[in-house]
Symmetry: C2
Subunit: 339 residues, 2 copies
């Protein structure tokens, strides 16, 4: 039985916890959150499962670790590497492995490398592994295209599209992508960084490194998708001419040539949802997942599925590139024992 501590029980943390509560071989033994409304409650009530888990949400990581003796901490608090650093270091100080959905941990970009080195050193000292994962970054726009490239003799260029009809996603997601804003409001939010998928630079760098490309420039641009006709979801109505979602383009260049291109379209009314990978190379590969990979379920799932692998991994700050083949984990116990 793998003992799991949750750090952060927001929407993502709670989704991970719900899957763990239902999965064989894993047990929630502790949880902490900064929300005073959650502290002191039973984890079952906080994450919305219909039974008591007999674990109360605490507030201090060190205390929770001392009391619950977890094998791994699942950290879901922030997208920012700097933001999670204190919590991450506290967990590592207590010698516990970490799986986190923090986008910037998935593959630390250049300006985060110094912090990443500190995390790596702390993890090695604690003899545990740290992994950042999720559906994106972590899978659809980096690990999956990298895995597909394994059958290539030569790779010229990789282009990944993630197109989602946001109508099927939850309200916070629809708000996050700016649905319902005026073009001016949207632009203002872009400028102060509030509508942006975090992780493009990380995914581009991961692909570039895997392919052996020395990327000399990475761009990451957000623009609005304007509704041509009125469109609505269960929660929101968007008039024609207003913003119905986001278009984000990321490009990694080598000497002015685009080598890695990522495009995310998430808006109400997209005619088709899909995840596609195009590898221009020998052979040429075009792979498409019809309907796309559902972000909320998938991020929680890949986080849970990574737990046994992280426990078995070599100490240090790991990435999806150097972890063993990702997989649904149907036998957490047997896997973990291999380590």
């Amino acid at each position: 039985m793998i003992r799991v501590l949750h750090v952060g029980l927001g929407p993502i943390g709670a989704a991970v916890a719900r899957q763990i509560a239902a999965r064989k071989g894993l047990r929630i033994v502790g949880a902490v959150d900064i929300d005073p409304l959650k502290v002191g409650q039973d984890v079952g009530a906080v994450i919305g499962v219909d039974r008591k888990l007999r674990v109360k949400v605490g507030v201090d990581i060190g205390t929770a670790i001392d009391e619950s003796k977890p094998d791994v901490a699942v950290l879901c608090t922030s997208s920012s590497l700097k933001g999670v650093l204190p919590e991450l270091m506290e967990v590592l100080k207590h010698g516990v492995a970490v799986v986190t959905t923090t986008e910037e941990v998935a593959y630390p970009r250049k300006d985060n490398r110094a912090i990443a080195k500190r995390i790596d050193a702390a993890a090695k000292k604690a003899k545990v592994a740290v992994l950042g994962t999720g559906v994106n970054p972590g899978f659809t726009m980096d690990a999956l295209p990298i895995a597909l490239s394994a059958v290539c003799e030569h790779v010229d260029r990789i282009e990944v599209w993630r197109v989602q009809d946001a109508r099927i996603r939850r309200l916070p997601f629809q708000q996050k992508i700016g649905a319902g804003l005026t073009p001016e409001d949207f632009q203002r939010r872009v400028e102060n960084g509030r509508v942006r998928h975090v992780g493009f630079t990380e995914s581009i760098q991961m692909i570039g490194d895997a392919m052996g490309w020395k990327l000399d420039e990475i761009t990451d641009d957000v623009s609005s998708k304007i509704a041509e006709t009125a469109v609505s979801s269960e929660w929101l109505s968007v008039a024609s001419g207003q913003v119905c979602g986001i278009v984000q383009d990321g490009v990694g260049y080598v000497k002015g040539q685009p080598k890695v291109t990522l495009r995310l379209e998430a808006y109400l009314g997209a005619p088709e949802s899909y995840d596609s990978v195009l590898i221009e190379g020998t052979p040429r590969i075009y792979s498409k997942i019809d309907g796309g990979v559902h972000g909320d379920i998938a991020t929680a799932a890949i986080t849970v599925n990574a737990i046994p692998a992280v426990i078995a991994a070599a100490p240090g700050l790991r990435t999806m590139r150097d972890m063993r083949l990702p997989s649904f984990d149907g036998g957490a116990l047997s896997w973990a024992r291999k380590g």
Copy 2:
């Protein structure tokens, strides 16, 4: 620079060697083959590259290793685990890591487990890794569906189709799938095991183990595809009513329920080539590679791309499941150094 010894320079071995000859960070330092017409020749002439590689094809593995001091041996001689056992053990006796396209090594099935244990023990004693890989088994019908399952909270059933228009493949492949035979001749060849893709049982077992399913029965059935109208390739013409290729169905069952289903169709005139993965689960995943993954190029490519990872891997008989994320290897040197 990674030093490579080739054991076997048939069509697949030669294809691997051609890619290695063209790749940075890898160097062919030795080669052996049993064909007297190849022994003594320059490897460049044997594999069909337009320059001398200044390496002569030898006949004895031990001598070749002593003389060339390889870091890894690429073994492409047979589909059978028993068939390659003497060569494999000889390489391991000399302390050299192995990547092989031997289908039965990719994921040793039950009746090969005793031999697999001997290989594992010999590899551990030699402190090197052994990996069986290829496009199939090794990727499209096992590692890829397993990797896609990583975003699933729950998996009910996995179905993988590989459909190929054999007109674009080489003549030996078209002959291997029985194109041009009468239905009676085809049936005779099925009975003595001469038309059969080797690897279904291995791929099914790999998927089953990854999902945590205890498969209690695995079936693997070959049937002929009959040409409804005349069809021809560059090399072969098949009259209506004759065999134009193969259909192979493999199923892994748990208590009578099909949990893993593989279907291979390879025949002249298939209207569409593709590789598809269906995961019935939460979320449901349907992934399709348009045009399919070209078998000859891809098997050689994934073998070459695996070399640095195998050198860095933990000693023993490894599988694609416990190797790090597969990837085109664009930086063999830097990867290998990590080990």
